[in-house]
């Protein structure tokens, strides 16, 4: 850490003339804001005056002259940037620390070097252009005088670019604005004068540019003149440059690396796509510059205003980062909707083809804020080399990603992949920034030219020591008193804000995955975005809970936000429509409740769900109370469920263990279970019942430990058990078993206790209510669960007898990516290893002695192996996957307890950091791997183009259009037969009664799938009283992804080729059948005329 005393700005003569109080203010955020404003202002003014300049040139000069001048000035600016050699940013960081009387000498020396280097570049280019076959650039060396003029222009450009940055250390940056305004205005004047003098060549325009620059330089000299008379001033001093070359080179590499990707993108598109695409992209890039200028200006302002003090800079960053982000978002909010309108200025083709690129590119403004702040921080810390290395690597990665993206999907692919990488970089740089912002840092006090006192501050804000660092004495005016910096360490609670923001970005990336999926971008690109988003959501929360210096509130907040944002990420992917089988089945139950205003209407899609309507009742309540539509109401209900589940789990575990840290880590471990993201976030009955079960346990845990419990205390636990009973059969049954086991263990371990009595009473009620509800008339739950148990048992038997196998990964004609297999297997191995170590630790430390429920959780964790073992057969995998939602309660508990006892990761030294990184990485691998196992193949994870019988990918525009037509035109409750997904939509949206084997007891699949129409089909129509048949002609294009077109046990289920189109169109030729709807994919036949059908 390098701390330098605050020294007055040599170049800032106004700073020495301004009263001290005002200076103090300028030294703070006002100065950052001022510099930012002037940088943006400079951009605006030069853009406007540049527009006027070129407009006048267009009127007074020939097109070829304009072309020559355009080429020459563009080349001049490029060479000037190269010729800066990093001295601009070097001076910003160095000047505040340089003795007052030596500053001007240093600046002059640097400028001379830059001028020489730039001029050299200009001469080389001027000498080389003759080798070019043709083009306007050859004019810059048409005569020796033109060549010299070109080189002078390049040298001046390099000099002014450095001067513009150096003067930022003076005051608020107005000098730069003034110089540029003068230069741009003077250029216009010279242009007019030269044109009036009948100078019409392209180099005349160039000359006016050069003259304008020359005129502007005295402005800088005047505005930064030295108020202190220095005897025998030296004009140049080579010694002043000693030791600067290395840093200058680092700054130069850093600056070039920052600019390189955006400069190379047009080239990549030209190579990968076409020059036309490049045109659209370049225009979009040009417009996005107005978004990117602000984060850049803020970071440069922060850098320039820091005067080399990183402690105060860190404090300012807490404001400038949110400001930059908010400004970028505001710019996005304007540019994204208005993109077509703005691009139309350039032509209708730009509005049509450039709009996607513009919308995507502007989204990069946000990561640029983080990246630019990181660069500014490293510059202030005098570590440009470290920043240069990192930025160079990321820039190379960006270019590589852009090449891959462009090859995959042209301009859109480039933008998407680059954007994804930018957001990952933002997380990386953001993590560094947050760590730096929170790092205990020295606060500079009582500084004199001779010494700097550094207070070492601990995380709690306590003074732990002082160090006196000697600094070289500077002659000159009295040092400025430093504005009191905010405490170097923020209150821990404020840390949740950045974490929340980062995790929100993850949801944003999920939305991009949805957009990419809807735009049918290649699956690999969608997949990359999808997993990047999930990692962004999960990663910050995992890091936060394992961090040793956060309070309970922050941990709890991170856990709650994790649960909520993972739920919201599902809406970001599938925002408007239920798309999964169970969701659509439950949506049908909800529709039936709203239709009948009562319960227990027959739902052929999932008959048992009508008898467990808890979720639908709450949804209907939200719908009735707020007027939200069913999808919106379901979203509210599921978010409430997530809150209850997360808080119930956390607070329950906290009560069991007495540790918020264990509770938080166990909660994050629980999120890693296979069912958490995909299944328990769906609109399905267990999504309500599971949170309520955790709530019931929590309620019992919080009962007062008095000898006699009042009946009022038991009211809510009893009511909760009752609500669970009518919400989900399996959860209610498992809760009843768990409560009984808990009561027995409590009795065994602690004897008769009030808690044991309360648990026993609740367990007894639970058992009674579960049994009573299972036996209400019409409830098919016994048959339903019996069938599942039979199927699972048969599958196990067949597996043991080697009659049946189950593909663990590649199923339904889909090939699982290798990385998914590796991560899944890795996560299973990781969980196994952790479980072994955790159980060993639990055994050694007798963790179960914490309480009866702790013992129960330990026992629950022991049965975890059945979850991965269940994947050996298809039928059992469905059962054991569902069980993971319960079993992982125990896994999370024992693993978190073990981690708490191991303790090494909680150390605040480097060893602790390494362990925490390992721990965070392990959690991430477990989360991704288990989620892959629970989510199924890639096509089921994200939106995309239509796939045959694939639930989420089958709910597409054609299927939805047919369902909405059915709702509008067919009598409600009409009996239809359709394939799996058309049935789900016909029920939940169309308001019809889809005939199913499970509900009607007759397998009608031959009507859909048999190759020809037979008398047996006619009989089936009559027996099933089918009024309409819905056919999806696309079923003939592939085998069903879910393994069945219609239902388990369907006609010719073990087919190896898709159902023939002739089978699907056979009804066209059947007498009495009318084709009443066709949207090109879905066809609806009216079969009521078939005798006997109603």
């Amino acid at each position: 850490m390098t701390l330098s005393p605050a020294a007055p700005d040599l170049l800032a003569d106004e700073s020495t003339r301004t009263p001290r109080r005002s200076l103090r203010r300028i030294g703070g955020l006002d100065r950052v804001a001022g510099i930012t404003a002037t940088l943006v202002g400079t951009q605006a003014v030069t853009s406007l005056l540049g527009f006027i300049f070129w407009t006048i040139a267009a009127h007074r000069f020939t097109v070829s002259s304009i072309g020559v001048a355009s080429d020459a000035t563009s080349t001049m600016q490029l060479l000037g940037s190269l010729g800066m050699l990093g001295f601009g940013t070097l001076l910003i960081s160095r000047l505040p620390a340089v003795a007052f009387d030596r500053r001007r000498v240093l600046v002059r020396s640097c400028l001379v070097v830059v001028a020489l280097a730039s001029a050299m570049l200009g001469i080389v280019v001027a000498a080389s252009v003759g080798l070019l076959p043709s083009g306007g650039l050859r004019a810059v060396a048409a005569t020796p005088a033109d060549g010299a003029l070109f080189a002078v222009g390049v040298a001046l450009t390099g000099v002014t670019l450095v001067v513009d940055q150096a003067v930022l250390t003076a005051g608020s940056g107005l000098v730069q604005l003034e110089r540029n305004t003068v230069a741009s205005t003077a250029k216009i004047g010279f242009l007019i004068a030269l044109s009036l003098d009948h100078q019409h060549g392209g180099m005349a325009i160039y000359l006016s540019w050069v003259l304008g620059t020359v005129v502007s330089l005295p402005v800088v000299a005047l505005r930064t003149r030295n108020p202190v008379v220095i005897r025998r001033p030296r004009w140049l001093d080579r010694a002043a440059l000693r030791g600067t070359w290395r840093d200058a080179a680092s700054h130069h590499v850093l600056n070039l690396a920052l600019q390189a990707p955006l400069m190379l993108f047009p080239v990549i598109i030209t190579v990968s796509a076409s020059t036309r695409s490049t045109g659209y992209f370049t225009t979009a890039l040009l417009l996005s510059g107005f978004v990117f200028i602000l984060p850049y200006a803020v970071s440069i302002g922060l850098f320039a205003a820091s005067d080399g003090e990183h402690a105060s800079m860190r404090a300012r960053m807490r404001l400038t980062i949110p400001f930059g982000i908010a400004a970028s978002l505001a710019a996005d909010a304007v540019l994204i909707p208005l993109a077509p309108v703005i691009l139309r200025i350039f032509g209708s083709g730009y509005a049509l083809h450039g709009v996607t690129a513009l919308r995507l590119i502007v989204l990069a403004g946000l990561p640029f804020v983080i990246k630019d702040h990181f660069v500014a921080l490293r510059r202030v810390e005098a570590r440009p080399g470290a920043a240069a290395r990192l930025i160079l690597i990321t820039s190379i990665l960006e270019v590589a990603a852009a090449v891959v993206g462009a090859r995959l999907d042209g301009t859109t692919g480039l933008c998407l992949v680059w954007l994804g990488l930018m957001y990952i970089e933002a997380v990386f740089f953001g993590a560094i920034l947050f760590r730096e912002m929170r790092r205990p840092s020295g606060t500079v006090t009582n500084r004199s030219p001779a010494e700097v006192v550094v207070r070492e501050v601990d995380p709690g804000g306590q003074l732990t020591g002082q160090a006196v660092m000697a600094e070289p004495a500077h002659p000159g005016p009295d040092p400025l008193p430093v504005a009191p910096a905010p405490p170097a360490v923020t209150r821990p609670s404020s840390r949740l804000g950045p974490v929340f923001f980062l995790m929100s970005l993850g949801v944003g990336v999920e939305a991009l995955a949805a957009v990419a999926g809807n735009a049918t971008v290649t699956p690999a690109g969608v997949d990359a975005l999808f997993w990047a988003g999930l990692v962004l959501i999960f990663g910050p929360a995992a890091v936060t809970v394992v961090s040793p210096r956060v309070t309970r509130g922050v941990r709890l907040g991170a856990v709650v936000v994790l649960g909520l944002l993972l739920q919201i990420s599902r809406y970001a992917l599938f925002p408007t429509q239920f798309v999964f089988h169970d969701e659509l089945a439950h949506a049908n139950t909800l529709r039936l409740i709203q239709l009948s205003h009562g319960l227990f209407s027959a739902n052929p899609l999932l008959p048992v769900s009508s008898y467990y309507p808890g979720l639908e009742l709450v949804t209907d309540a939200i719908h009735g109370l707020t007027g939200l539509d069913n999808r919106g109401s379901a979203m509210v209900v599921l978010l409430l469920c997530r809150i209850v589940m997360t808080l119930g789990l956390y607070l329950g575990l906290e009560r069991i263990t007495g540790s918020g840290r264990i509770a938080a880590i166990a909660s994050v471990c629980y999120v890693c279970n296979e069912q958490y993201l995909f299944f328990n976030s769906q609109y399905s009955y267990q999504s309500l019942a599971l949170p309520l079960a955790l709530f019931a346990v929590y309620l019992l845990l919080r009962l007062p430990a008095t000898s006699s419990l009042r009946w009022r205390s038991m009211l809510l636990p009893f009511a909760t058990v009752a609500a669970i009973t009518v919400s989900h059969h399996l959860t209610a049954a498992l809760l009843a078993v768990a409560l009984c086991a808990w009561a027995l263990v409590e009795r065994r371990v602690r004897g008769r206790t009030p808690l044991g009595r309360a648990v026993a009473q609740t367990g007894a009620l639970s058992v009674a209510s579960v049994l009573a509800w299972a036996f209400i008339p019409g409830n098919p739950v016994r048959t339903y669960l019996g069938q599942i148990a039979t199927t699972a048992g048969d599958a196990v038997t067949a597996f043991v007898e080697r009659k049946q196998s189950h593909a663990l990964f590649d199923a339904g004609g889909y090939r699982t990516p290798t990385w998914e297999i590796i991560v899944s297997v890795g996560s299973e191995l990781l969980v196994v290893t952790c479980m072994v170590l955790a159980l060993r630790s639990v055994w050694r430390h007798r963790t179960w002695r914490t309480g009866s429920l702790a013992l129960l959780l330990c026992l629950l964790s022991v049965i975890w192996p059945i979850v991965p073992a269940g994947h050996l057969t298809g039928a059992t995998s469905e059962v054991t996957d569902r069980a993971s939602g319960f079993v992982f309660l125990g896994v999370g508990f024992v693993v978190a307890s073990w981690l708490e006892l191991s303790g090494r990761w909680r150390r605040s030294d480097r060893v602790g950091s390494r362990w925490r990184i390992l721990l965070g990485g392990g959690l991430l691998v477990a989360f991704v791997g288990q989620t892959i196992l629970g989510s199924g193949p890639q096509w089921a994870q994200t939106p995309g183009s239509f796939l045959v019988s694939s639930d989420s990918r089958s709910v597409d525009k054609a299927n939805l259009a047919a369902a909405h037509w059915e709702a509008a035109h067919l009598p409600t409750g009409s009996r239809i037969i359709a394939d799996r997904d058309a049935s789900l939509l016909a029920g939940s949206i169309g308001g019809l009664y889809p005939v199913t084997h499970v509900a009607d007891g007759i397998n009608g699949s031959a009507i859909l799938l048999s190759p020809t129409w037979t008398a047996a089909d006619r009989t089936l129509v009559r027996r099933l009283r089918i009024a309409y048949v819905v056919i999806d002609l696309r079923d003939a294009t592939g085998l069903p992804r879910e393994g069945i077109y219609y239902e388990s046990g369907e006609y010719d289920q073990n087919r190896t080729s898709p159902v023939p189109l002739s089978a699907l169109t056979k009804l066209n030729a059947v007498a009495g059948v009318t084709r009443i709807y066709d949207n090109g994919s879905l066809v609806i036949y009216d079969v009521r005329a078939i005798e006997g059908a109603s």
Binding site: F500, T551, F574, T576, G658, G660, P943, R1075
Partner: protein, 263 residues
Amino acid sequence: MTSEMSQGDPMAAETIKPAQGEGSGSPDLQARLVQRSIPVLAAMASQILVGPRVLTVALVLISLAVSGLLVFRSMDTTATDRALVVTGSALVGLVLLGLLLALVPAGLTARSWVLGVALGELVIIFATLRVELPGPTRRWSGAIRTRGLGWYVAGVVVLAAAVGLSVGSTVHTDAAPVAISVQAEQGTQYSVAVSSGKVRGPLTVVETSAGGSRVLRSGVVVGPGNSTVVALQPGITGQVKVELEKQTAKGRSTLAHLSFIIP
């Protein structure tokens, strides 16, 4: 294992005890009862008198907020515990209330939900009459801080933008394709409708029967809210097709067709 409950947790420290209120039936309590019941009663009145839906919803939400706050403040525990109990109890209460409402003759309707919830809220208001609500001048400590608020605002903006982006993309993708369907049967008059979720056209509607093909309508452009209805002649057997007018290499592209016997 060490307890973190007392380690600098502002929420753990914030335990607000119910006020030790005045005697039961005192004028203050009566006034409090009336004040707190006003939004509930107004919601009920608005629902019974079929007031504007927006008004009813607003009153329902206000009354829910009041009763939720009363339950929240009636508990002598941490804010997070209270948040869990309030949310969990609300879910449990709605499930059980739904079961109850399903038994009454009116059944499960928006009206019965509003009235049922309102009655529940009145019970809560009565049971928590002694609980004081924070006045407008009460300074919130701990639970709400403005520090770092910018991050939350920025995060919420990102979430809103994400959902907005996704909704826009999905709505665009899910726009219905061109479809043809039987529109109406009035006596012997049949007609077909051509519709689409996106602007498509020009299209041609062609009738094909034993007597040959006949263009029923050409230059048809359909889009959202702009379907075209074409009347058919009675008594023919055949097909009605929708074709793109633009000729392709393979001939005219048929988008969809109906085939039926027109009586």
